[in-house]
């Protein structure tokens, strides 16, 4: 299965042999994974959530030790006790969640990985070096501002600079494009190509097939901890890759992973449209500040009708979170109106909002949607714990009724757990999300606000939840779907709004969009609609 056909100038830089990783709680993250990495090469590392991509790269970059197996260089076996040793060897990783100290400047963050603790920091020298590096690589970033004040794209550039400043030969990037606009992605890819031409090796972790086909020479596919594919990019087709990733029949695989342009219209025709026409949620000129004090939502207006899925697409961090928070009682906007069937929902308690018929599937199920140490039953009443069917006089809880309710939910939504008194943290991500969905839908809502509802879920659960939302639409509910997964939005929404820097760039039907236009809109470029 392994294709060791090395590209022209490439010689082997590193080889991983039989890497197995079992975590302390028993999870098998990697099973005998082997891969050879050459110079002048960009390798795409594909796989779903939980396939082992991040684990493998964490081992290569020295953050984790393998349970068994070894890493070999041309000079012999290598072992890294910590990331700095890997850096010294020439391997650097840019993480998905940046390893930056927010209160430090870019220069201080870079200085952190230098040795000799009792020496003076000599930041001026570091700044000089970084400026030279920025010239060379084409990455520009303000060096003396606390990193937490920089935009996400800039922060990523600091991360990359940090790694480049150590003169690495293997650069690993973990899902770098999930926080970038399409234009920024192009810039990044240009940089990567330049680095490749200069002889570096690059591993790009991603779950986006298009990207992988765009920029890589070689693709490695992981599934459930095992290497299932090592192919040349030129030789691989989308279907093949999807199948390797998911391990199912091709049709279902395509359905599950990124859809290409050709397939989109086919999907849409198969849907029946059932709009009741009545406006349930009416938002006008909503403006809200973010946590940093800057304007996050900038005068947004829209309506959602019963029987309709209204999708908000866009790279995360453009105000979607704050918009959802404003509509669900978690943030007080500074101006504008929003009503549900005529009643105001701004600036009031979440509990009151729930009573008005709003269900909220939050974007962070661990932080927001669940109290993990609580049992299933306790989580199932979060938000509705004061409703008459669960609460008697003197606010006494009716556990009998509650447990019955939970069992019904477990049944209806196929939630796999040992019982209503199982702690929520013992459930898998998919089951946790299903619990939340079940809880929210049990409110019999008029409108469902679903924020990143399938993030981090396995294929089966993701599909289940998408289907549930579609079912709700058929039943005449209004649905607000906010998702950073563009294809999810395009495939399921009746109308789509592209959000950028707090504003809706455009609101239209998905048919009217092609990937290129969407990409530009997501990047903030206003594009005129094409006629005919």
């Amino acid at each position: 299965m392994s294709d060791t056909n090395a590209p022209r100038k490439g010689e082997m830089f590193l080889r991983a042999e039989g890497i197995t990783k079992i975590y302390s709680d028993g999870t098998v993250a990697l099973k005998e994974a082997s891969v050879e990495i050459h110079s002048h090469e960009i390798i795409g590392l594909l796989g779903e959530n939980g396939a082992g991509k991040t684990t493998l790269t964490k081992i290569l970059s020295g953050l984790l030790p393998p349970t068994s197996g070894r890493v070999v260089s041309p000079a012999g076996p290598v072992q890294f006790a910590n990331p700095r040793e890997a850096l010294d060897f020439g391997i650097g990783m840019v993480h998905q969640h940046f390893a930056l100290v927010g209160t430090f400047t870019a220069a201080e963050n870079v200085a952190l990985s230098y040795d000799r603790p009792f020496a003076r920091t000599q930041l001026a020298k570091t700044v000089e070096r970084l400026e030279a590096l920025m010239e060379e690589s084409g990455l520009g970033v303000p060096l003396n501002v606390p990193v937490e004040k920089l935009a996400v794209g800039e922060q990523q550039r600091v991360e990359i600079l940090k790694v480049l400043s150590r003169d690495v030969n293997l650069l690993i990037l973990d899902e770098p494009t999930s926080v970038l606009t399409p234009l920024e992605v192009d810039e990044l890819f240009n940089l990567l190509r330049r680095l490749k031409d200069a002889g570096k090796s690059i591993i790009l972790i991603t779950h986006k097939l298009k990207e992988v086909q765009d920029i890589t020479n070689r693709i490695i596919v992981l599934r459930q901890g095992e290497m299932v594919g090592d192919v040349k990019t030129a030789d691989a087709t989308t279907e093949q890759l999807a199948q390797l990733m998911v391990g199912q029949a091709v049709d279902e695989a395509i359905d599950a992973v990124e859809l290409s342009d050709q397939e989109l219209p086919v999907r849409r025709e198969r849907r029946a449209v059932n709009r009741s026409g009545k406006s349930i949620l009416h938002v006008e000129n909503l403006t809200a500040r973010g946590n940093t004090g800057d304007i996050a939502v900038d005068g947004v207006s829209f309506d959602i009708h019963g029987g309709e899925i209204f999708g908000i697409a866009g790279v995360e961090g453009n105000g979607q979170t704050e918009l959802v928070e404003s509509l669900t009682g978690l943030r007080v906007p500074i101006s504008g109106t929003a009503t549900i069937n005529g009643t105001n929902i701004l600036g009031i308690d979440p509990r009151q909002i729930y009573r008005l018929g709003v269900a909220h599937i939050p974007e962070d199920r661990w932080e927001l949607g669940l109290v993990l140490p609580f049992t299933l039953a306790e989580n199932a009443i979060l938000g509705v714990h004061r409703w008459k069917e669960f609460r008697g006089p003197f606010s006494v809880l009716k556990w009998g009724k509650i447990n019955q309710h939970v069992r019904e939910l477990m049944d209806r939504f196929e939630i796999r757990a040992t019982g209503p008194s199982a702690p929520a943290k013992s459930l898998s991500g998919g089951n946790q999300q299903k619990l939340i969905v079940g809880r929210e839908l049990a409110k019999d809502p008029a409108i469902i606000v679903a924020a990143q509802p399938t993030r981090g879920l396995d294929i089966g659960s993701a599909r289940y939840i998408r289907q549930t939302l579609v079912d709700m639409r058929e039943k005449g509910r209004a649905i607000l779907l906010v998702s950073a997964d563009l294809d999810e939005v395009l495939a399921h929404a009746d109308r789509v709004a592209i959000m950028y820097e707090g504003r809706f760039m455009e609101v239209c039907a998905p048919e009217e969009l092609d990937r290129e236009r969407v990409g530009m809109l997501m990047g903030g470029v206003t594009v005129a609609k094409e006629t005919a």
Partner: protein
């Protein structure tokens, strides 16, 4: 080891983890108690005492007979309440270290009922109410400071302990003082004294107050929506807010309840401790009940029922300590050493994990008991 073996072992470990986790809370407390006693024994040996003698005397003095049991329970009475102070607030996510000061204020407030007459029953009730109110008020300010200005409640409650000590000293010896005996306050009149349950001991009806309060708190926390909100706010304030819970209000409530508990603790002593039924300057009978209550809370896993059990254990330590001092010559300050060691041990989570030797031993034992390893249902993190 091969990947195969590693996988097998981890499956077993997970199974053991789950078995032990089921017993975990009580087991941890037990281990901590044993560890504390061992530390005490070690120190005794170093100083030339005989730990066997000492601990036998201790157990005799704590649980040897009904008279001894009564004294133990009388020690446990205020401990249950001050432990609840710490635990209720901890469940709401706050560290209320102020039980000591709240207790002093409660005791003094209870003493105030000596200045008017009421029929018994009503007089008792008013005493308890005064004490509860005083405790609650004393915890209000730290609560307000935390919720309105973000002041660490750890620091503010500790400062209030010291302020209470001095203010209490002044009030006890200057305002509420007994005109005939200048070192104590006026005594609680007979109409308000909690009846002694076992003649010749110091066990009063205060124990009923303590246990009743503990049961009320249990019911409140696990069977009412208000208690649910409190626990949620303590475990995950963000999710609580999402659930429509007003976190500030619940945290405030927890402080009030905690203050009430500590105030009642003061009342049970002042209204229940023969022969004087009064507070002394410097509060010698109350001293350190607040801090020891925290130890009780931790060993009791912050659960009202666990707290009652732990209070009986710690009460035993305190009441048996006197016998230990008389019979074995070990100063009763050793008790504090034991208590401190217990708390220290309790601060280490999942003690089984920490001691690999112990783990291996238990592993072997359980392996022979387990018929087949539990099946894997784990999730990877990529």
């Amino acid at each position: 080891m091969t990947a195969q073996e590693a996988q097998q072992q981890s499956r077993l470990l997970r199974g053991i983890h789950r078995t032990v986790t089921g017993l975990h809370p009580a087991l941890e407390s037990l281990i901590a108690a044993v560890a504390g006693l061992l530390v005490g024994a070690l120190l005794m040996v170093i100083w030339g005492f005989n730990p066997w003698e000492a601990y036998s005397a201790l157990i005799q003095g704590a649980y040897g007979g009904s008279y001894e049991w009564a004294n133990t329970l009388s020690w446990a009475t205020p401990l249950i309440l001050t432990a609840l102070t710490f635990s209720i607030c901890l469940r709401a996510g706050m560290f209320n270290i102020g039980a000591e000061g709240q207790m002093y204020m409660g005791a003094l407030a209870a003493v105030c009922i000596a200045y008017f007459t009421l029929p018994p029953g009503l007089h008792h009730l008013v005493g308890l109410l005064f004490a509860a109110a005083a405790g609650a008020i004393w915890s209000l300010v730290p609560a307000a400071l935390k919720l309105m200005r973000g002041v660490s409640e750890v620091i503010s409650t500790i400062m209030f302990n010291w302020i209470a000590k001095w203010l209490g000293l002044y009030l006890a010896l200057n305002i509420l003082v007994d005109s005939m005996r200048a070192e104590k306050t006026v005594s609680i009149p007979i109409t308000a004294r909690l009846p002694v349950l076992v003649k010749g001991t110091s066990l009063s009806a205060g124990i009923f107050v303590s246990v009743a309060f503990a049961l009320v708190i249990y019911f409140l926390l696990w069977h009412t929506a208000t208690g649910y909100e409190l626990r949620a706010a303590g475990l995950n304030p963000t999710a609580a807010r999402y659930g429509g819970i007003r976190n500030k209000r619940t945290m405030f409530l927890s402080f009030i309840l905690g203050g009430v508990a500590a105030g009642l603790a003061g009342a049970t002593i002042v209204m229940g401790l023969p022969p004087t039924y009064a507070a002394f300057g410097g509060f010698p009978q109350l001293l350190n009940m607040g801090f020891n209550g925290m130890a009780v809370a931790m060993v009791g896993r912050n659960h009202p029922i666990g707290i009652i059990v732990a209070a009986i254990f710690f009460g035993g330590l305190s009441s048996g300590g006197g016998w230990m001092q008389i019979l074995a010559g070990v100063p009763l300050e050793m008790i504090n050493v034991v208590m401190g060691a217990i708390v220290l041990t309790m601060s280490i989570p999942e003690l089984i994990r920490v001691f690999p030797a112990a783990k291996n031993g238990i592993q072997k034992a359980l392996r022979s008991m387990l018929r087949k390893p539990r099946s894997a249902a784990g999730e990877g993190s990529a």
